[in-house]
Amino acid sequence: MRVQIKMEDKEKSFIQKVAERSAQNIYACYQCGRCSAGCPFAFEMDILPNQIIRLVQLGQEEEVSGSKAVYLCASCFTCHSRCPKGIDIARIAEAIREITEPKGQDHFGPDDVPLKWAKDLPQQAYVAVFKKFSK
């Protein structure tokens, strides 16, 4: 694997977009990894929460947008509550989903709900999951 680190307009504008939408200081992260250590879903993630921030710091939009990690975030705020710099990674994940989701395509839409669950699911689960993962 090799990445090319460039800090040109494209990279800078990606970093800025993430920072603006999430209202978080991307540069505050010093990569202690505590977010990943406590994340209840890290075991399923292809890249860990601290790596997501790192890739944003490096301006690697493609790497981040191809990852499923941001769709595994349940906004439980465990990372946020223990982050030594108070970074809200759930917000960063949200910002990345907004920025990188292909136009007009849902990551997870109403048709994706398995029928066997459909009847039983509480309303809040529907509202929340579509709010997060569809356009």
Binding site: Y30, Q31, C32, G33, R34, C35, S36, A37, G38, C39, A42, F43, I47, L48, N50, Q51, T78, R82, C83, P84, K85, G86
Partner: protein, 656 residues
Amino acid sequence: MSGNGPKKKIGVFVCHCGINIAGVVDVEKVAKELSKYDGVDFSVDYVYMCSEPGQKLIEETIKERKLDSVIVAACSPTLHERTFQNVMTRAGLNPYQVEIANIREQDSWVHPDRHEATVKAARIVKSMIEKVRRNQNLEPLAVDITRRALVIGGGISGIQAALDIADHGYEVLLVEKEASIGGHMVQLSETFPTLDCSQCILTPKMVEASRHPKIKILTYHEIESISGFVGNFKVKIKKRPRFVDPDVCTLCGECEKVCPQVVADEFNMGLSFRKAIYMPFPQAIPGTYTLDIESCLGLLPIRCGKCREVCEPNAINYDDQEEIFEEEVGAVVVATGYDLYGLDNLGEFGGEKYEDVINGLEFERILSASGPTGGQVRRPSDGKVPKNIVFVQCCGSRDPENHNPYCSKICCMYTAKHAMLYKHRVPDGNATVFYIDVRTGGKNFDEFFQRTIEEEHVLYVRGKVSKIFKEGDKLIVWGVDTLTGRKVEMEADMVVLAMSMVPSENAEELLKKLKISTDANGFLSEAHPKLRPVESLNAGFFLAGCAHGPKDIPETVAQASAAAAKVGDLFAQEKLYHEPTVVSAEEELCAGCGICVPVCPYGARTLNRERGVVEVNEILCEGCGACAAACPSGAAQQRNQTDEQIFSMVKAILKG
């Protein structure tokens, strides 16, 4: 105020500085123009004013023409102000009657245009003439010194400072609130990076301090208050009753045997027990038992009284009382040390809940040959030897959001030491260290750290732990290895948390009471971060050890010695002299509003409510002038930089 000021005969000496000034500024023209300026009696230019002939020229002109004040138009005052002040003294004038007009750094070197630079030079000189016209003769403020020092805190820093000051030949009072001197260092097992035994190197120093004829050790004493100022402090000291006469106690230990009260032993970090009448540790100084009244059943014979019954030499006195007495000192070394940040602050690590999650000092006691396990590594809950031990660094450190923003500096090294000592004692055990960065800046530190990995096979995992919890007999540690990008879950028998260092809890209150400046984290502030690192902002107070910020032992000792040297500097002077350009409070003008009082960072100004005026302790004033700007009535005027002087300078500059 725009009047002409006092009538003075002023001399102006314009320097060519070779071609440095004269190459751009028409110095002759400047000298000539100024000879016509109000009050100027004499004006001349010369090739090098700072040279021997140049200085002679000024000196002789002053004498010949009976000048009152002098302007030297030359380089920046930072270079030769002192030179020309000495010329003044030699010529029989007060050194505060010379002013330097900076026409080199701030004129000829930055403005290439001859005309503009010449006009500007004249203006600069004029502004300085207006200032010097109103300068008063000033003498440095002088005050006597009490050549006796107070050292607060009897840890390694306090002991070292006391020994050094005493070796300079001055008396020292060493005040320690606990029953023995020794501080945290005497609790440590072995010290990095040499692994020499902490007690073996410290206890001889403790004995030396106790035998030194110039040192008076007051253990079980506390500072009540300090008043006065540098060179002349009055200290109120409180003696806590210890109910045992140290001079009579023979350390037979009979009292301890009969005492029925058992409490947690602070020296062993609560990992073992002691009696209510106890000796903190065998090498304690002073060598005496102390009766801890908080834990005692009560002094009435009807309640207990067993210890007094068995005391052969009659050292126990139940009528011992708290006493407050006063001492005079000239300087204070603050060496109040540190505590470890409480485990209860990190709920996610369960330090409060799980016996086998401990802090670094507890582990020091476990490793120590004199500790509760005799130096064998056994875990507190069931005494088993932990086969898997996890160390977590940066617990509460480098965490501005929830805990302490700073790096505690010593944890990287002591954790490496802990892991190494663990491996020495449990060779078949596994030690894992979770770290963010390993900082080994120090002599032989990195070599030591590398040995722990290469030779002792301690596993270093880069990532901060998020959660520790118990499942059955095991502790589960949730961490991460950021180097491979994997979340880590591992079992441990025992976890040692490198809790961050915080200022000693008891000291916090004391420092507030003494009004000693501290930073946002409660550590002592130094007078200047680079150039005055062992002096407090409060004159006469010096800093040593971890009260000032996290440090290791050699650094602490070095700082303590430096503080002692600074105390020596102070005491070596015949009198204390102080810049006289202080800010007064003219009583006729002062309305007693007190606005200037909180403006002063040095506590030099106090409001006398009875008299309704502000009083200034000129020795404390550093002359910044902030109070003068805040004073609404003009009562606060800075000597030789009065409002009138500033106004007249402004006017001279703008008039051209």
